[in-house]
């Protein structure tokens, strides 16, 4: 993919192209079609007609293959209350959305906004709300909802913190309403990544003021709040708000007006969570059929991954990638006919990576990890090809950690660096560091006379013990002892937070456009601790182990560049700076990437239509949310 596709100018062309399309749309404004279940309600007089429900200019979504048919239940599975991101990604109520027009070609389109304009130096962003846009309860969406969001929902005394997306150093972006349907976001410095980040961050830009204000202390009295809390069965009005808020959560409150294609009708803790079509959804297909095509989405609760695998084999899953392990590929393939589905492969952009903590509290090891030759030796001692074949059935790509090919910004040098198997050079490098003495078992001794031993802490869920055992064998070959510390995921995080991890294990991800979340490169992400104490210094959250990197360390340059990218004058310039960050890391990688770009497996029932193959899946571009799920349909 080219960077071009993500830059604002492209956004402009898309917006322009779209309005051209919309002109034709208005021509058929009279003959919109709707789902039979809605037509029934219209006939019964309980719902207004479809052209009254749709905005004047609906969003037009072109189906991938063909115009779909209405109806049906899309069956999926979920693991419990913390799995809300699964359904969420199918139906995010975004103002702009990522699109992937062909494998690896990304763009960003206005969604519930009809268009947006960006000024010359990317400091002012003007959004136009679709005229006649309605919440799922039929109430009109106006800038009042936008102001409610920024004044009462996010910010200091509000239920949500102020989004980092709208923060530049100490100054905050200002949101002003121009008229009922137009609003402007103004930054003090340029913010070229703003639109792209809007496609990814959990910042919805509007909240249904007419409904949610009744649960807000700025609008409701204490008694009203207490009564509301009681009616939802919670202790305090605060519990009504937030990601798990009983009133505000998209999947806990069937009453909540949303801008999503589906809204929850049976919320958790039901064992089967059901979503139903939003009758006021603002998009149509190219023939004027109101979307979504699919009536309902159901999510069945499962405990054990094996249960899900059996469900897949029996054809109880219509379309899902979440919780489908790559290791089950043979099983899924074997049962394609029995379950009447197909395994559709998308490419993933994650790299399975080991993170040598250069600031581990074992000072001898910290010093070794800071030595480039030592990291190189550990890197080239790994036969990545063998690991790929033995552990991953040859489905992954042996590589150094970095954004894989297919990412918006990618650096071929970085992902190739130190990824060749060369144990002789590795041994020579270690000898060159003076690590020549051996203990009784043949392991090298550290400068302080102890056995050179690396302890890898790995969270249970992410770890592939088979892989780590191979790693420890390869390192054993060059005289480095390795032991594994397999811990529960929470404990892993706890240990990192206390800087008690010598070497971490976690995939490097979010590569599609890494500048949106560059924390791994800036050492400021907890789960990828290659320089834990230095990252803590940068984050400045009062960790007692935080310490500044040594003078002249490349991290200073990386941090400057990360800041510079966020306030670059254009996305082009930001991308240029992003490329420089990768180049800095490519010189002497700070980590040990093993294999990556593993396929993402979508179980797709043969009755599901309009689902593309071979796309790139990444959290940044919202996983399956990158395709308009509205245009999926079920063939009966």
């Amino acid at each position: 993919m080219q960077i071009r596709t993500l830059i604002p100018t492209k956004g402009f062309t898309l917006a322009v192209g779209l309005s051209a399309l919309l002109m034709t749309t208005t021509a058929w404004a009279q003959d919109y079609s709707e789902a039979p279940m809605l037509a029934e309600q219209v006939a019964a007089g309980t719902l207004p007609a479809v052209d009254e429900r749709l905005p004047v200019e609906p969003r037009v979504i072109a189906p991938y293959n063909e115009i779909g048919t209405y109806g049906g239940v899309w069956r999926r599975a979920f693991t419990g209350p913390s799995d809300d991101r699964g359904p969420q990604k199918l139906m995010e109520p975004r103002i702009v959305r990522f699109v992937q027009t062909a494998p690896g070609v990304f763009g960003i389109e206005p969604a519930w906004a009809s268009s947006y304009e960006v000024n010359e130096d990317s400091t002012e962003f003007t959004f136009n709300i679709r005229e006649g846009l309605k919440w799922s309860d039929g109430y009109p969406v106006t800038t009042e909802d936008v102001l409610f969001y920024f004044e009462d929902v996010v910010g200091d005394d509000n239920p949500w913190p102020w989004p980092s997306l709208l923060q530049q150093g100490d100054s905050r972006a200002v949101v002003t309403a121009i008229d009922d349907l137009t609003f402007k976001v103004t930054f003090t410095e340029s913010s070229p990544l703003f639109i792209t980040r809007l496609g990814r961050e959990y910042v919805w830009m509007a909240s249904p003021a007419h409904y949610l204000s009744q649960f807000h202390p700025n609008y409701a009295s204490e008694e009203e709040l207490a009564a509301a809390a009681e009616s939802f069965g919670v202790e305090s009005w605060q519990d009504l708000w937030g990601r798990r808020g009983k009133a505000e959560s998209f999947w806990l409150n069937p009453e909540l007006p949303t801008l999503s294609p589906w809204t929850v009708s049976t919320p958790p803790p039901a064992n089967q969570v059901i979503f139903e079509r939003n009758p006021y959804y603002y998009a149509v297909d190219t023939e004027g059929n109101q979307l979504p095509y699919i009536d309902q989405i159901s999510h069945d609760l499962f405990q054990d991954p094996e249960t899900l695998n059996l469900w897949v084999a029996q054809g109880r899953i219509d379309l899902q990638q979440r919780h489908m392990g790559v290791g089950n590929f043979p099983f899924f393939k074997e049962n394609e006919a029995a379950g009447d589905y197909e395994v559709v492969v998308w490419s993933g952009l994650e790299v399975d990576t080991l993170w040598p903590n250069q600031t581990t509290n074992d000072t001898v090891m910290a010093e070794l990890f800071q030595t480039a030759d030592f990291r190189q030796a550990l890197n080239i001692a790994l036969d990545r090809e063998a690991i790929n074949e033995i552990v991953f059935a040859g489905l992954t790509t042996p590589m150094q950690a970095g954004p894989p090919e297919g990412s918006a910004i990618y650096n071929a040098d970085l992902i190739a660096k130190w990824a060749e198997y060369d144990p002789d050079t590795a041994n020579a490098l270690l000898d060159g560091l003076g690590l020549t003495d051996r203990d009784g078992d043949g392991y090298r001794l550290r400068p302080d006379g102890e056995t050179l031993e690396i302890i890898i802490t790995t969270p249970l869920f992410a770890s592939n013990i088979d892989m780590l055992e191979l790693v420890s064998e390869f390192w054993g070959d060059i005289g480095v002892k390795t032991s594994l510390d397999v811990v529960e995921r929470t404990l892993y995080l706890d240990r990192v937070n206390a800087n008690e991890v010598m070497m971490g294990h976690w995939p490097m991800g979010r590569a599609a456009f890494f500048l949106i979340d560059p924390a791994a490169y800036a050492a400021t992400i907890t789960d990828q601790p290659w320089a834990n104490a230095w990252g803590a210094y940068r984050l400045d959250r009062g960790k007692d182990f935080a310490v500044a990197p040594p003078e002249g360390h490349m991290l200073y340059e990386v941090w400057d560049k990360v800041d510079a990218a966020l306030t670059a004058s254009s996305l082009d310039e930001a991308a240029q700076i992003g490329a420089e960050i990768l180049q800095l890391h490519a010189a002497e990688p700070n980590w040990i990437g093993v294999v990556g770009a593993a396929p993402s497996l979508y179980i797709r029932s043969n009755r599901v239509g309009n689902f593309p193959e071979g796309y790139i899946r990444d959290d940044i571009t919202r996983d399956i949310g990158i395709i308009p799920t509205e245009q999926l349909y079920l063939k009966e």
Binding site: P81, P269, A270, Q303
Partner: protein, 329 residues
Amino acid sequence: MTAYIIRRILWFIPTLLAVSIVSFAIIQLPPGDYLTVLEAQMGAEGDYSPEVVERLRERFGFDQPFIVQYGKWMWAMLAHGDLGYSFEWRMPVSSLIGQYMVLTVAVTVTTLVATWIIAIPIGIYSAVRPYSAFDYIATILGFIGKATPNFLLALILMWLAFSYWGVDVSGLFSPEYANAPWSWAKVGDLITHMWLPIIVLGTSGAASLIRQMRANVLDELQKPYVEAARAQGLPEWRVVLRYPVRVALNPFLSTIGTTLPELFSGAVTTAIVLNLPMAGPMLLRALISQDMYLAGSYIFLLSVFTLIGTLISDILLTLVDPRIQFDEA
């Protein structure tokens, strides 16, 4: 007898108090708390925000010492019958666990009864006709059942059902009944799904029951009173059922108290493997996510059931065996 029962029930109070303190403490043992779990989750999803975590810490009172948190929980339970609040689900524990508890008790009690119905006659028959072909078959099956871990048996049966009949035997309801209100059709659906958990949970229990029953009855059959009964011309079935079996039942009745918790805990892994909407999986999830009031309430309720089980077994014991007297002093 009434006085005895009342006294026993009064003893529940200190016992449950002790159980609740211990379970609450154990839940708190692992490092971190629910918010650490939440942080981990948010970190992995890239929307970590220290402000949110800080607010929740205050909101849920995690900044308070252990004894205060425990005290609040206990007080709410005693004063308002309020089991506390589930952080993970953001709802009162009591409204969350009702349906799970009902299904758990239903499955467990049915399993217990089914085990008895199957195991006791087999045990008696094996004792009356020891070393017969039937005895050997029952013994072999019993030992296999005893030696196979529940979850493995569940996996094997699921796999067999899937590969030979292509049916899914997991869960307690078909998808179309999962959310349906209770009706006869739903009960019917439940019954058609219940046989598998009963087999899985009951097999090892039935196996040991058969062995115990066989040994007990065999012992009794040698005793002179059996001889005497036979000499008086009673029919054989009556001799066996009326005296040796009645005596041999003693050990079972006294173990109801321990069988119940065994079934409950056995049900955890089985319920996870079989995807049963029972208390076990929810307890496990609550423990993993350190949702302490939810986990604490489960353990507390399970302890209550255990105590009730013990009481019932003691009462049954006196009814079946007149030689056992309550100490009325």
